[in-house]
Amino acid sequence: MSDLTDLYQDVVLDHGRRPRNFGPLEGATHRAEGLNPLCGDHFTVYAKVDGGVLREAKFEGSGCAISKASASVMTGAVKGKTAAEIDALFEKFHRLVTEGPKAGEEADLGKLAVFGGVHEFPARVKCASLAWHALRSALGGKAEPVSTE
């Protein structure tokens, strides 16, 4: 039986309490909003892309511990990556939060592996994915806020 500590690991709680890269981004080249209407998670994700590489990402907004921690860890994980690399990373992250950890993928996931427990809490998958959807929407140049619905 899955434990709460599988979901609320120390790192997750830490990032939820003191999110990294939190705040507006001066000179952002891309931005998008993400909304989880079910519980009110609402974030704006900013990215500064230069020469096809994401130099910096930040986020603002409010939401549950999982969504905030996920956004926080994400902004660190995508730094220095191209859009294609970010997409590939998201695929792995999405697999992690819906199916659980898979042998061979932990190295690629790095810090993102702390969300390995989310798959046992299906109602929280959308929380964990929200910031990623927003970031990908920003990089894809979409205007409307992205929703988890």
């Binding site: 039986m1 709680l13 519980c39 009110g40 939401g63 549950c64 511990a65």
Partner: protein, 423 residues
């Protein structure tokens, strides 16, 4: 088959005992025996949907095992039995809410459909360009959106009675908002998010004094407080079966006879007609004018059984038990550090919304779920109300007749566990 003409369907009525036995009541709900994540289920989400007593579940099964046929048409025995069971349920509901006439009880899919029905028939004929429809700041989306859509369609404006910091309706503001262009007031009897009980009789009286008809959302009102629609003076009253120990998919619109007679039909089809030709079709009398197609017969039977079940306990005994339990809960919750209740209305029933420190309600609900406790986290289909209180979401614990003090104690223990996780 006319409603009210039933014969042998009267249930034997014993006088209801004054106090109910919570453990005995709880024992009638099979679903409450299960464990969740290894812990006993503590179900505190009855405002979302209530659990069903064995009597209701069995009534539905028995209908399908013994009486099932289509209603109002057939000449054979099963059709007779199905029709009688269906129409008896209608009579029971009329009696429950104090309606003068079962013809005024329309079966719908639920509160939402009932309100849409009124908006699209009564609303469309009464509301024109430049008119106003009045709702309140504590309404469920189902009692906002149909009116918004009507106003959009007609070029009318939606006005809103404000909610005080205490979570009550601002009755002085209501007075000011009942104007010469106000065509209808839609108001909830009990708030599903805050638990606020509104003084419906007084509100209706004020509205009528200005010539404004009133639709009351009774979804939370019926199971916790009951209603006497004639005494209240309301023009329309809507409620859902699944919020009052009945099955999902069935509900009621009650309307005053003169309104229902004047309203154009809503959905077209079988049963709501008297005769059909391609040149002209004439419509059926009440209540069938508004009941197109084969109804949820089993749902109506189940709802009738829920009415019987509630009546056997007695609505006053149910209300007294819930009132005591809610008082116990409010006191217990006040003892949890950093817990903030939303609103302190004059009168409360059924539900309480709260926040715990800066823990997001979603996280609270996940932790509580791991302890077997089911609460609701989110905006409770009342986004405007949430915004009014400056929050995106709250946690909501809602009670029904099968809840006990042990449930409240478990919730409090669970909230302490939440604090530990997020300390």
């Amino acid at each position: 088959m006319t409603p009210g003409a039933t014969q042998a369907g009267e249930t034997l009525r014993r006088p209801a005992p004054a106090r109910l036995d919570p453990e005995a009541v709880r024992g009638e709900f099979p679903i409450l025996r299960q464990t969740v994540r290894g812990k006993p289920l503590v179900y505190l989400d009855s405002a979302a949907t209530t659990q069903k007593p064995r009597a209701v579940i069995e009534a539905i099964s028995r209908y399908y095992e013994e009486d099932n046929a289509n209603v109002h048409r057939g000449v054979h025995l099963l059709a007779e039995r199905a029709t009688r069971a269906f129409e008896e349920a209608r009579v029971k509901l009329a009696r429950l809410i104090g309606a003068a006439d079962p013809h005024e009880v329309i079966f719908t899919r639920g509160t939402t459909e009932s309100i849409n029905l009124v908006a699209q028939t009564f609303g469309r004929t009464r509301v024109g360009a430049g008119d106003e429809v009045l709702v309140t700041g504590m309404e469920h989306h189902s009692n906002i959106v149909p009116w918004q859509m009507l106003c959009e369609e007609k070029g009318a404006s939606l006005r809103v009675v404000p909610v005080t910091d205490a979570g009550d309706l601002d009755l002085d503001a209501l007075e000011g908002l009942l104007g010469p262009r106000t065509r209808l007031l839609a108001v909830t009897q009990v708030s599903n998010a805050l638990g606020t009980v509104n003084p419906i009789d007084e509100i209706v009286a004020r509205a009528h004094a200005k010539g404004v008809p009133v639709l009351v959302d009774g979804a939370q009102g019926v199971p916790h407080l009951g209603v006497d629609v004639r005494a209240s003076g309301a023009d329309f009253y809507a409620f859902s079966g699944h919020k009052m120990y009945g099955p999902t998919g069935i509900g009621v619109l009650w309307g005053r006879r003169e309104h229902l007679d004047a309203m154009p039909p809503w959905q077209g089809g079988g049963d709501m007609i008297l005769s059909v030709t391609f040149e002209k079709t004439t419509f059926n009398a009440l209540p069938y004018k508004f009941e197109a197609g084969t109804p949820d017969i089993a749902g109506a039977v189940g709802l009738g059984a829920a009415v019987d079940w509630m009546s056997a306990l007695g609505l006053p005994a149910i209300a007294a038990h819930e009132h005591e339990l809610l008082a116990y809960a409010l006191e217990a919750l006040a003892g949890v550090p950093e817990l903030r209740l939303l609103g302190r209305p004059r009168r409360r029933a059924g539900a309480v919304s709260f926040l715990l420190g800066d823990v997001h309600p979603h996280d609270m609900a996940t932790v509580l779920d791991r302890h077997g406790i089911a609460i609701r986290a989110g905006h409770h289909c009342a986004q405007p109300l949430m915004r009014r209180f400056g929050v995106a979401a709250t946690a909501r614990a809602s009670f029904a007749v099968y809840n006990t003090r042990a449930d409240v104690d478990a919730l409090v223990r669970g909230l302490h566990a939440v604090r530990e996780v997020f300390a």
